[in-house]
């Protein structure tokens, strides 16, 4: 029965790779505007889940719905067109080009109609790109080759590119991994600020529990392919199974 409340629904998802169970009867409903983090040790199934949502993998059984449209068997490209964008743990950007050009490409790919004989570097496009770059505090790097930019900047660019499409759901794959500890919060703050006022649904995979607590209002914990806890941070982080299999911490204060 279609349920118009949820922007993303995963129904009875199962996936195995030979003897390894990567997804064990996953049922998740996410509402519009939620900021959800997925936690779990490596191999717990959060990345597999993410890959199934983005179409890179197909579940063995079960279905995934985006705004009640069945996207289970669609390709990543079509799923992106329908409204799910993702960023990557290792930034997937266009190395020999500048940040500005990277954004131009993201903009170009998001446009439904474009001319084969009009310059991509139009005033309209330029204005939009400058705006997006400043939202992510990337203006100073705009015309430098991205392969030479620092890790945190590359990550921000990767995320900014995913947002050009104005997706319904933004998936962030370990946004702060590979970023120095003192840079993690500024990075997430920049992202949060860029997203403010949009009521975007954000799902992110994270290992850093402080980031998880500070930037998500809902946590879903995975272990051995199954969801072992799902709720707000106080509930999940004080859950004994979560403490045993994921965080290793015994006492967590609520935010």
């Amino acid at each position: 029965m279609p349920n118009k409340k949820y922007v993303l629904r995963a129904d009875g998802i199962n996936k195995s790779f030979g003897a390894v169970v990567a997804a064990n009867d996953i049922n998740i409903n996410i509402s519009k505007g939620e900021k959800v983090s997925l936690i779990g040790s490596n191999g717990a199934g959060k990345t597999t889940f993410m890959n199934m949502v983005t179409g890179y993998l197909k579940p063995d059984t079960g279905s995934i719905y985006l705004n009640d449209n069945d996207i289970t068997q669609l390709s990543p490209r079509v799923i992106t067109q329908k409204g799910i964008s993702r960023s990557f743990q290792i930034p997937q950007i266009f190395e020999p080009m500048s940040a500005w050009e990277n954004m131009l490409i993201a903009l170009g790919t998001s446009q439904k109609k474009y001319s084969y004989f009009q310059n991509a570097r139009s005033k309209e496009n330029s204005d939009y790109i400058d705006e997006m770059l400043s939202k992510f505090s990337l203006n100073e790097f705009a015309h430098r080759q991205v392969s030479e930019l620092p890790g945190g900047v590359r990550k921000l660019l990767d995320i900014a590119m995913a947002l050009v499409r104005k997706p319904d759901i933004l998936l962030l794959d370990e946004p702060t991994s590979g970023v120095g500890t003192e840079e993690k919060y500024p990075l997430m703050d920049t992202v949060a600020k860029a997203l403010s006022g949009e009521n975007l649904t954000v799902i992110f995979v994270e290992h850093d529990m402080d980031i998880v607590q500070n930037y998500s209002d809902r946590i879903i914990a995975f272990y051995q392919g199954a969801v072992i806890a799902d709720g707000n941070s106080e509930k999940v982080l004080n859950n004994r199974s979560v403490q045993e299999y994921v965080t290793g911490k015994t006492q967590v204060k609520a935010k």
Binding site: T54, Q92, F94, M97, G108, S110, S115, Y116, A120
Partner: protein, 321 residues
């Protein structure tokens, strides 16, 4: 900035075309012929760099070069069609259309497999052509003299007439290609070259880009083949042989994909070396080309087009001031 840039390109190209047409009046006939052949080869090279912008190198453009050449030749000998403009146009469209049909087959491949499959296709055509005696087998056949709007020019103006026609038609195509390269889909092609995965996750199809680029390359190659055949007055299966395909790759690598005029310059270089070699250095022209190619790959990986691009960027900056 954009509209001025596009206008600049348009007028600069027209100027260059006029210059070339005028220069053609004063240079000797053999040089006009060489330049026409350079335009023919350059057209095929343009097709390859269109594909290179999408990350693919075709080792088999001899396929479309041959199809274009034989189309023009057969229309001439079998259908009595000798109007050069018409032949060039029909070859362009027909070969492009065939390219569109086989493109989906090729577009699934990358890197060395794409190169080898394109090579295989060209050799399949070669294998067919050398055995069809009705069209001359391995000897090929002679093309009738070309006409222009119904008029057959005097023998001493034949080369120049073809030259002018090819400058105009190629010029128009080159302008259109430059516009395409600078457009959004043209930019997406470059993105596919750099990171195909991300392009898919941004919602665009690398497959579609490749199909489009291959179709364009086919049309260009077909027109080049027709032009070459008409210029030579002769067509044979060598047009589709792997060594011919290799020459097109040579031109493309030497030129790089940054500049359109650079491709024609690289083609001209090849033709000049080839023409002079016969008389002055028959045993070293391939060696020269080979050395050129290696030096180009090592020291100028973006091709001689990088010089052209810097030059034109500077000009356009100054014009826009």
């Amino acid at each position: 900035m954009s509209q001025k840039f596009y206008t600049n390109i348009f007028f600069q190209s027209i100027l260059l075309m006029i210059l070339l047409i005028v220069v053609g009046i004063f240079i000797p006939n053999w040089l006009v012929f060489v330049m026409t052949k350079a335009i023919a080869y350059g057209l095929v090279g343009l097709g390859i760099i269109t594909l290179m912008r999408g990350g693919l190198v075709s080792f088999g453009q001899g396929l479309v070069f041959g199809i274009g050449g034989y189309t023009a030749g057969l229309l001439g000998t079998q259908a009595g069609l000798t109007d050069a403009i018409l032949l060039l146009f029909i070859s362009f469209v027909f070969t492009g259309f065939l390219g569109l049909i086989i493109a989906p087959l090729l577009a699934r491949y990358r890197d060395i497999f794409f190169a080898m499959l394109s090579l295989a296709f060209s050799m399949v055509l070669y294998g067919i052509l050398i055995k069809i005696d009705a069209i001359g087998g391995s000897d090929g056949f002679v093309l009738p003299e070309s006409t222009y709007f119904g008029i057959e020019p005097l023998a001493e103006y034949a080369d120049y007439s073809l030259y002018v026609v090819s400058i105009i038609m190629t010029g128009i195509i080159s302008i259109a290609l430059r516009y395409y390269y600078n457009s959004t889909p043209g930019l997406i092609a470059l993105a596919v070259r750099e990171n195909e995965l991300r392009v898919e996750y941004l919602g665009s199809s690398a497959f579609n880009v490749t199909v489009l680029n291959f179709t364009i390359a086919a049309g260009l190659g077909g027109m080049g083949g027709a032009l070459n055949g008409i210029a030579l007055g002769h067509i044979d299966p060598e047009f589709t042989y792997w060594t011919t395909s290799g020459e097109f790759v040579f031109i493309s690598i030497l030129a790089g994909y940054l500049s359109v005029p650079a491709v024609f310059l690289a083609a001209l270089l090849l033709e000049l070396v080839r023409s002079f070699s016969g008389r002055y250095f028959p045993d070293t022209w391939q060696l020269i080309l080979g050395v050129f190619l290696i030096l180009s790959i090592i020291f100028l990986p973006s091709g001689i087009g990088s010089f052209f691009k810097k030059f034109f960027d500077k000009i356009n900056k100054n014009i826009n001031k």
